[in-house]
Symmetry: C2
Subunit: 352 residues, 2 copies
């Protein structure tokens, strides 16, 4: 038997609702497997901030570190000034735990509604850098609120940081049938950062002769995303470009209700964190309307990261099967979770 120490950050808005379903499916897939989950709930997010002024304390972080993985729902509420929870909690977790691979698979499941008239087969993964770029928080402003204000934001890119994520992306490309990697950047304008990314892809690529490499400027990449998304297999890109591209990728593959993500530390020196790409959606919170599928798929990514490959597959198979039978009839958050859990359980019976 094996015990997984799971830190749960349900967070704000619909976060707790979708996390409950993710945990339901997790419990189901692990039932009888000999793997047990030891779960710690962390009270983090808007309410805690309003109550205490704290976003993520050193104690919180130390406690979270004692876990094997983190499942996160969503962070953010309009009652909290913009940036406070994003920078003080969500990004702080990604940075403090060195989640340098922000993994965002996009797959268009058969039957899923997409805004594209003729999407073709879509199945790619974005490897978004998670600890550098314009996300580092190295900005500042002077003369704020005066006509002479200057506000700067600095994108920091290091050989160390770029190489490790590019290496991860190549390894993923190598393991996929199409073995293709696309670097997305804007090296004709952001020449310093762009050339570092480019050189790194060239250098690391030499170690992966079977992987074919191409490049797209981020602006052109958004065009391909809607005109020819099947051209993509593995995309490697910077933190901000990855943020933008993965929301667009989610939109063309059925919406952020289906988009899962992992904030991964491949060295496993810290717990990796799995979260749906969507936000806290306060407008529909508490109404059992949120689609928990992205959270359930994030659980599948988590199982995979934890080496529970068979269980990961059972969860993603359950999602694929459920999606194939969706006809647009609205179901409650809990009903979707129940349906997925039931399929996971049934799948186990069939294959067992």
């Amino acid at each position: 038997t094996r015990t997984i120490r799971l830190a749960v950050v349900a967070g704000d808005g619909i976060g707790p609702e979708v996390v409950a379903e993710g945990l339901k499916v997790l419990d189901t897939v692990l039932a009888g497997s000999g793997v047990t989950v030891e779960r710690t709930d962390f009270d983090l997010g808007a309410q805690r901030w309003h109550r205490t002024g704290e976003t993520l304390t050193d104690e919180d972080l130390a406690a979270i570190r004692e876990h094997d993985a983190i499942l996160l729902g969503a962070i953010g509420d309009p009652s909290v000034p913009s940036g406070v929870l994003e920078r003080g909690l969500l990004l702080k977790l990604r940075f403090a735990l060195d989640h340098y691979v922000n993994l965002r698979p996009s797959r268009l499941y058969p039957g899923v509604p997409t805004p594209l008239a003729d999407p073709g087969e879509v199945d790619f993964v974005v490897v978004r850098e998670g600890t550098e770029g314009p996300y580092v928080g190295n900005g500042g402003a002077i003369r704020v609120g005066t006509p002479h204000e200057v506000a700067n934001e600095v994108s920091v890119n290091t050989a160390f940081g770029v190489e490790r994520v590019v290496r991860d992306a190549f390894a993923r490309a190598q393991a996929r049938p199409r073995k293709k990697l696309t670097l997305v950047h804007k090296h004709n304008v952001l020449v310093h950062a762009g050339h570092l990314w480019r050189r790194t892809v060239e250098t690391v690529g030499a170690e992966y002769p079977e992987v074919s490499v191409d490049y797209a400027h981020v602006d052109a990449a958004t065009i391909y995303m809607v005109t020819d998304p099947s051209r993509f297999d593995v995309i490697v890109t910077d933190n901000l470009f990855g943020d933008i591209l993965t929301d667009l990728a989610a939109a063309i593959t059925g919406g952020i209700g289906l988009a899962a993500s992992g904030n991964v530390n491949p060295e496993r020196t810290t717990p990796s964190m799995f979260e749906p790409v969507h936000g806290s959606a306060p407008d529909i919170a508490g109404q059992a309307k949120a689609d928990p599928t992205a959270t359930v798929l994030s659980v599948s990514l988590m199982l995979e990261h934890l080496g529970l490959t068979e269980e990961a597959r059972r969860v993603s198979d359950a999602v694929a099967a459920d999606i194939a039978e969706r006809d647009g009839t609205p179901r409650s958050t809990g009903a979707v979770g129940d349906a997925l859990a039931a399929r996971v359980a049934a799948g186990a019976r069939v294959s067992g």
Copy 2:
């Protein structure tokens, strides 16, 4: 009679081909109007750089300044290192001539093929800031090529620069039937720049009580662009976000073959520059395959900027009429230009 001194930068790849058609239509619409064009061709781009090592000299710039407007085809060639012509020529023109309003209208003409299954009515304009943000070239790198390389890119945003473009965007929104302005940024992460943009929109917005204002993070904006583009009327955004969004906007409204742009100095202290959004497309250069429509629409924007409103409308009407009858049969660059010029001429006869 009035004389327009027009600087023509045909540039690289398909640039000269599409510019020829733009000028053909321009000549046609001005025929008999009493307005004459005094045209100067500037030899700028890849060939000049290969020959002389120059991108844009002080003399070039001084000569260009002596004009009322600039028509630009496309700049860039794979034989020139990335960034050299973009930064040394195209962006240098935008910056030196203080083109702080990068105007990019997106309209889905009836009958135009779009990758979206159900786009609805699309008719918006992106007011992209053109002289600040991550485009300022304030980056740098140390220890280049070593494992300790650090490459930074700095986004500079000033109250002066943000306010003037926001003001322009509000004025445009006020003049449009829907009177709606959407700020696109990422203020939950880029808090310093983002908050400057936000505060500026609030302050200037108080002077435009009839304009309704909303906000979207850039990642969410890409989602709306493919799921609900008709929500947009005027978008105001930073240089880089505008670059990304306008390519995506072009993609959903028929492709960059149709996307026009103006690099505008609203104070008219310098010549504004009009250019198709597409690049030099070296793969199809010299084959008479390029669609000159985006250049012709850029000519329409130029006419409008020069106060020749009626002529501007005649050109855009000709484009709309031509597009409505396109059936996918390929036409040469010249054939499209001829057809548009013929329509412009015919339109003049009808309305005259």
